[in-house]
């Protein structure tokens, strides 16, 4: 990807030490994209196994490992980092900032995620992957033999710390780094959703961290938090997991809502309809997201009172979500709708997500959920919201912001093929699964008997999965073609409305030569309508203060990675494992000490080295 940045030739060292939000965004995108391909491959293996009744391609424990890693990889190692890729690439630009609030932490967050993800995936080569589902319910997870679950706990603990750091960083960035005039109610909706998502991360991830510590102590140090025979309680894990897990769903989907809002607005050439209602709906969804976790646990036996409360609370979330859907449709209403690939994905998102939302309300009806729960109906539902919602949103975002991130526009023809194969394949894969569930097929089953009449729908579903694979391959091909043959485009190729399109291409290291003055929602559009070619500056051209690169985040993460290995093999590895723990944590502590001890004031780009004048996007 480095060739995209012709202006600043980058060596490996530069990528390892960078604290530039634009480059960290690219790092997140590449590693998240890589894990997405791995998770997709695992999904394909699952679908091949279920293609026909009593298939023997992938059975028993190996199937459980693949399904666990598919879910875990897709949620923690693909969806989350790609969301962070966009937050990094776009949010500072949308608010008119020169970097995030804590560039060092930004880098640390990435490298923790990266090493955590690598650690988890190494389990494939070191005795087997985790096999208790991405939810890792105890006591199955605490009693699972082998080291798979230890890799799960330690890998995700390290990656999760990175996510938490990233979330805090974006909260502070959005609160403190907005350009003059960029009030909260003038922030683009993607920034708003990034803000709420970061808030959800701040409150949801600590629950997961604690849960992982308890699970780790049960597994590594033989504690009994979840062992009923020793006075523990396995249901506590379910509560902790879903107190994190349900907000996590909104952590994932809210940024997709933001992307759709940006794309729909740009490509219908209209201001977002009902902006303040959209902001309010986002905040409300984030708030309600913490009140509904037990709807994942209707069949656990919490009793009718708890089930009723959580059923009604869950239904309530449909209201702000419905507000969003109608506001998107009315943003399109009366517009000049251009069907670019980005907008195709956004427009495809709307009906698909509505269908996922509809089954969500159906699932909220607790007694009906006694039938849906842990059946393929649920599998269909959450793939409709996560793939049909989030992934279509991410594709829309990629086609939309690719010129901003890499300077080149993805090929539109291949893009449309990409959309149609993926979109049709998606519905083909997951629509029949609603019926499979109602016909009595539980989820996480590696096989089903011949006589149950589940064969034809499963076969259709597998065909759909191959269509999605073709769509994904086309996308990868599109990236290769674009970087090999694509031409650099202007800084504002879509006739954009927000600040990220107000700067030249490639994006200067310092983003904005002069911090822009924001005069309303859709700041760039306002200037365009006023006949200006560029933003009105809020300051004269002057020295620009930038942060220094640092290798410490990389080394610190490497230290925790080594310590993670030590904990995983604590019970089997003897002295070597103990050495790994001490050395690994030692490296981490030394890096923390160095970071605290060495004063790092950054550096200045001097006025004489800067262009004389801001020429806007068409520089």
């Amino acid at each position: 990807m480095s060739n995209a940045h012709a202006a600043n030739k980058s060596s490996l060292w530069d990528w390892l030490t960078t604290v530039d939000h634009k480059k960290i965004g690219i790092l997140y995108l590449i590693s998240g994209g890589f894990f997405f391909l791995i998770g997709g491959l695992e999904a394909l293996l699952i679908r091949i196994q279920l293609m026909k009744p009593e298939n023997t391609f992938l059975t028993g424990d190996l199937y459980n490992q693949v399904l666990t890693m598919h879910g875990t990889t897709m949620i923690f190692l693909a969806a989350m980092p790609i969301i962070f890729a966009f937050m990094n690439a776009v949010v500072p630009l949308q608010i008119g900032a020169r970097d995030v609030a804590f560039p060092f932490l930004n880098s640390l967050g990435f490298w923790l995620f990266f090493f955590g993800g690598v650690l988890l995936n190494l389990s494939w080569f070191l005795g087997g992957a985790p096999d208790a589902g991405w939810t890792a319910y105890a006591p199955l997870s605490t009693t699972s033999s082998g080291s798979g679950l230890d890799f799960y706990v330690l890998g995700l603990q390290i990656a999760g710390a990175g996510t938490l750091i990233g979330g805090i960083n974006f909260l502070v960035t959005i609160i403190n780094m907005r350009a003059p005039g960029m009030t909260f109610m003038r922030m683009p909706l993607f920034t708003w959703t990034a803000f709420i998502t970061s808030g959800l991360i701040l409150f949801a991830f600590p629950a997961l961290t604690i849960g992982f510590f308890l699970l780790m102590f049960d597994r590594v140090f033989e504690a009994n938090f979840f062992d009923a025979s020793m006075g523990g309680n396995p249901i506590i894990w379910e509560h902790i997991f879903w107190i994190f897990g349900h907000p996590e769903v909104y952590i994932l989907i809210l940024p997709a809502f933001g992307i759709i809002s940006e794309v729909v607005s740009t490509f219908s050439k209209k201001r977002l309809f009902g902006y303040s209602a959209m902001v309010f709906a986002t905040v409300l969804i984030g708030f309600l997201g913490f009140m509904v976790w037990a709807h994942h646990m209707f069949t656990v036996g919490l009793g009718p009172v708890a089930n009723s409360i959580f059923a009604v609370a869950t239904m309530a979330i449909a209201i702000p979500t419905g507000v969003k859907i109608f506001n998107w449709v009315f943003t399109l209403w009366g517009g000049q709708i251009r069907f670019t690939t980005a907008n195709l994905f956004a427009v495809g998102f709307i009906p698909t997500f509505v269908m996922g939302g509809v089954t969500g309300v159906m699932l909220a009806a607790a007694p009906a959920d006694y039938q849906y729960h842990d059946s393929y109906f649920v599998v269909a539902h959450f793939h409709y919201v996560i793939v049909g919602g989030l992934v279509l949103g991410l594709f829309a975002g990629l086609y939309y912001w690719y010129p901003r991130m890499f300077g080149k526009m993805l090929n539109e023809t291949i893009g449309k093929w990409n959309f149609w194969t993926f979109f049709i394949g998606f519905h083909l894969t997951f629509f029949p699964q609603h019926f499979l569930g109602l016909m009595g097929m539980p989820r996480r089953y590696f096989t089903y008997p011949e006589g149950f009449g589940l064969g034809s729908m499963n076969f259709i579903s597998t065909i759909g999965a191959f269509f999605m694979t073709i769509g994904t391959i086309l996308f990868v091909y599109n990236i290769i073609i674009t970087h090999a043959k694509g031409k650099m485009v202007s800084g504002d190729p879509w006739d954009g409305r927000t600040l990220e399109w107000a700067i030249p291409n490639p994006t200067p290291h310092y983003n904005f030569l002069q911090t822009p003055l924001v005069r309303g929602l859709d700041a760039l559009w306002i200037e365009k309508m006023a006949g200006n070619k560029k933003m009105t500056p809020a300051e004269p051209v002057g020295d620009i203060h930038m942060p220094n690169n640092s290798i410490l985040p990389f080394i610190m993460s490497l230290g925790f990675f080594i310590a993670g290995f030590g904990f995983i093999y604590f019970n089997k590895g003897g002295a070597l494992a103990l050495v790994a723990i001490i050395v690994g944590l030692g490296i981490g502590l030394v890096c923390m000490f160095l970071r605290s001890w060495i004063d790092d004031h950054g550096y200045h780009i001097h006025k004489k080295d800067l262009p004389k004048e801001d020429k806007g996007a068409d520089l």
Binding site: A228, F273, G301, M315, I337, F452
Partner: protein, 349 residues
Amino acid sequence: MKRWLRLGRIVPIFGLMLLGLMGCGNPQMSALQPQGKGAEAAYDLMILSLVVMVVVLVIVFLLFTYVLIKFRKRKGDDSIPEQVEGNHMLELLWTGIPIVLLIILAVPTVMTTFDLAVTEKAASGEEGEEAKKDAPMTVKVTAHQFWWEFEYPELGVVTAQELYLPVDTRTNVELSSADVIHSFWIPSISGKMDTNPGDKLVNKMWLHPEEIGTFQGACAELCGDAHALMYFQVKVVSQEKFDAWVESMKTVKFADASSDVSEGQKIFENNCLQCHAVGDKGGKVGPALTGFGDNEKVAGILDHNKENIMKWINNPHDVKPGNNMPDFNFDDAQLDALSDYLLGLETAK
């Protein structure tokens, strides 16, 4: 053209939905063909929620399709659309109507939630004799990796893998687990409930089958390697047949070893009895085999015949990976005798 294709896709979707709800799937295991009161209550709620939601879907899809066709950019038209900020009336409308729809759904949801629950009061008879009379019998279900134990404490009967229930009667069920969390699900009779390990986490539900027949039960919570094979059979029979079955189960005694017992029984006594109970003798580690000869399946999944019994005994892990039964390497003659013995474990009919 593409826009019409998109509209065209919606029609078959609804067609399929209706087709599905008119009763697709196998009636022995489909939530769409309820054969018991619990499944019926869930089904009614499904239909209600589906109708409400289809109304929403139709409105959104029609509006959406209209907008995409009407407001697409036409060549040569470079006018700038009016930059509408929003509309308060519309916002109120699409906040208010969903609230009404959700209330329509929420009320029956809460009522059904309480109907399906076994509350402390109902179980102890405090809620009136009526509730207690409705459920004369309790079955204790204990889930194991990867089989089901069914105990009828009031009747003194223990069995495994095949659950006998009298038709048109409410039976209370107490659910627990011997190892990890499983989930007890008979789609055509009732929704599922988890079986948790530990004495303090016993769950209660009730079953009220309304049709005579054999139904499919399954485990619905990932529980290990053979999770996908943890099926059980539910035999719903008339009250008379049920009483007769109970009587015959109670009269079965494990015949004492003497010179005239079959070769198969000797092998069983020396190798199997430690874990598997027959009649009044035997361990509780594995499924009780009293009345095994009447079963419809071997290990809950294989057809009930001698060949499959032999297959199971010598290679249980090929059939259910990760289960706790040891591999026995009997020779063919032993296997033959043992299988004959097991097939002969019938209750008096």
